[in-house]
Symmetry: none
Subunit: 507 residues, 2 copies
Amino acid sequence: MSDLELNDPNYSALCEHVRETGYLESTAALLEWDQQTKMPALASDYRSEQITHVAGLIHQRKIDPRVGEWLEHLTDSPLAADPTSDSGATIRILKREYEKRIKLPATLVMELARAASVGQTQWVEARRENDFKGLAPQLKKIFELKKSEAEAIGYAEVPYDALLDEYEPGARTSEVAGILEALRQELVPLVAQIKGSSYRAPVDILNRNFPIDQQRLLGRTASEAIGFDYRKGRLDVTHHPFCTEMGPKDCRITTRYDETFFSGSLFGTLHEAGHGIYEQGLRSEYYSLPPGKYCSLGIHESQSRLWENLVGRRLSFWQYFYPQAQGLFQEALGDVSLGEFYRAINHVEPSLIRVEADEATYNLHIIIRFELEQAIINGELDTDDLPDAWNEKYMRYLGIQAPDDANGVLQDVHWSAGLVGYFPTYSLGNLYASQIFDAANAQLGDLDTMFQAGDFVPLKNWLNEKVHHVGQCLSGPQLGVQVTGIELSHEALMCHLREKLIPIYGL
Amino acid sequence: MSDLELNDPNYSALCEHVRETGYLESTAALLEWDQQTKMPALASDYRSEQITHVAGLIHQRKIDPRVGEWLEHLTDSPLAADPTSDSGATIRILKREYEKRIKLPATLVMELARAASVGQTQWVEARRENDFKGLAPQLKKIFELKKSEAEAIGYAEVPYDALLDEYEPGARTSEVAGILEALRQELVPLVAQIKGSSYRAPVDILNRNFPIDQQRLLGRTASEAIGFDYRKGRLDVTHHPFCTEMGPKDCRITTRYDETFFSGSLFGTLHEAGHGIYEQGLRSEYYSLPPGKYCSLGIHESQSRLWENLVGRRLSFWQYFYPQAQGLFQEALGDVSLGEFYRAINHVEPSLIRVEADEATYNLHIIIRFELEQAIINGELDTDDLPDAWNEKYMRYLGIQAPDDANGVLQDVHWSAGLVGYFPTYSLGNLYASQIFDAANAQLGDLDTMFQAGDFVPLKNWLNEKVHHVGQCLSGPQLGVQVTGIELSHEALMCHLREKLIPIYGL
């Protein structure tokens, strides 16, 4: 801390309070990580009690009236003068979060937590039984509570703004909708063109036998090469891959292995490692304070997508790694050329399941969810009508029809878990990733030459400096403009997709 | 809870408070387990902060004045009338702990937690580098803090009483010293007789090649057979094996594997599984309350030693398991008879490392540590002089000399982790184990016939009922008398050792 910061007792007390809350938040992260990765089968009931108790302690600390008092004293402090300085951002963000949190009635917070908990349990059952009707009442309840939440928080234009703001601070629904609509208008025809093309990528090679031990080795080697530091992290196996952190030097990623599918684990590992590199790149001296926290979910996702797609699905990446992959998977890849492999991992085809979708169609899955959740929150769609609306949009945007709700509207847990306004951040991540990659390429010179030599350090260091070190000192859009020089739009992503896909599909 | 318990608001509030503290204590256990087993290398500094913070919260809850008020109200309640009933023990033990704890300054508690966390990290380094001097300042600090702790708590005869009482409630240093002195007087000549005997057990067979995967399999099979329930537990690898629990159905044990040594992992796993069976056998409805907590460390250790030594090193155990072991380790054990194997695993010989010591000499290792830590706490020895004092006692009791401190005074983590007064409970465990096993054998009929058939359930169930379900309703000595009918002494253990060793060594 600077002398100015140290000498302001309100600022010191506020930061100390937040750092201590961070001990509990990171401890809660360990409870949850362990629940997903290591915990014995019968231990889950008590674990829920532990997590609930710690969450309660965290909430109490966050609504501590002293936080309001410290912030009140700091409003006119020179420390708050520049809202993008470390101290200014600290005061600005903590004030925003405190005010938002005290606006929410405790009963609503508890009802939401309970509804989300019940919702997740019911969702597992509903998806397994293909029973949307069984989930519908709970889903209606959750969306009603989210509407109440939006009203309690307040919004500029539409209620959905309030929910989006939770994950993408400062973003407006109208702006995001405009960008995603422009993306959709160009993406739908491109996907249709590819569907109509006569070229078929040799995707079956990815379903040959890929022994898990070798997959583990390649995933570890590649994630380490791009910059995930295993002295400050680890990689475990879970059914649903994720990235979490429980300390400034303790970031943990997970993956799952399928012996008969190459892409799932490798690209999943690169994706989670991208999230992890961001977490590891945050300024550790500000751990749990705004300057040391990730900017927004969209920016977080941009870091995972950048390494997964912009780097990991790039020809130059495989010019370096393909010989290693062939060495590890002699039987599966021995007779496959680099070109065939490259085209297979970049295959585009409309499909039903979001998490298995390719780089291009993925965004159409998101746009559908974004449109549907907006319609519900803004009162234009009833949750009971979700399956029909879902199927209609899948036919219109992707030209496919789910055989049942389990593979349709029931495929994602998000809404059942109370996560509304979360989906668009996935596509914002893709859009930011393309723009940020282009900026890096322009500033660092020819990245492909570096990748061909297995050198990912310059890109990682550039991201550390330009993106990660910013923390929450800038908002997502501000960070985007500072790093790339332009406002967020669909263009860089479309340009990137066209450059890659037009040659592959001979369009 | 009974109606009486439910209708007493002070009792309900007290129990609820303690259960909630339990959420934090079990969370702290996870932070520590993860630190030993899974945590990335560079994460230890922040982990220490997390543990310190949670320890502070736990301490705050334990000295909450309301606890004192609830206990005050309950002193004359009918719930407290029988001090060995569930409610009576709850009130009695919580009162004892509360009174002890309010004597401890918060700063001392936090300093001790931090010193122990740092101490453990430094110990790893010091042991690896054979650098006692590197650890010495931290060790001195820890012992000074423990002296302060003893003074703050108060004691009847000597300061060491206060520390011993933490692990073996109600035990007096003078009494324990008397029993261990009697043990030493009979043990030293027995060990000398064995050393002088012309028979040499074929111990080299245990240093053949034992592939780790097979060791893992045998350890898992045997620990499961004796009753460790893996639906409520797990087994991991650590350098220093331990057992911990982080919930009523979440008990975790660890082991370490050495490909060229059979006994280390297998008997270590049986040992930790014995601890785990005790934890899993506690009444889960009383989790984190005295009736659902282990009685004392001595009783805890009796359960691990009973399964490790009284059962695991017994001929009848191997009459069942040896064919399996031979099948797993064809190359190593194919030409070894059961008799040779049995004599090898029961070989007695003075050696340097406590955790690798045999059943007989083990207690001499403990007696040395017990004498040394008493001397430090009672002001008769300086920590800097530990290596010399250590080596002098090893020569006197065991007739051997460590080549360096790594194999001498640095071999155990306990003191570096702030565990002073803990060591004697290991030998108390051996003493209790022999008495308890004799009682089980007398009450259940011929245990050997059951073991020969691989049936360990009757013994496990008997221990559940007689020992585990008691929790802290009785003290260690009370439990011992109730289960075995006699006071604790060195006799059952000596009898057991003589019965086994005299035939083997032809004394």
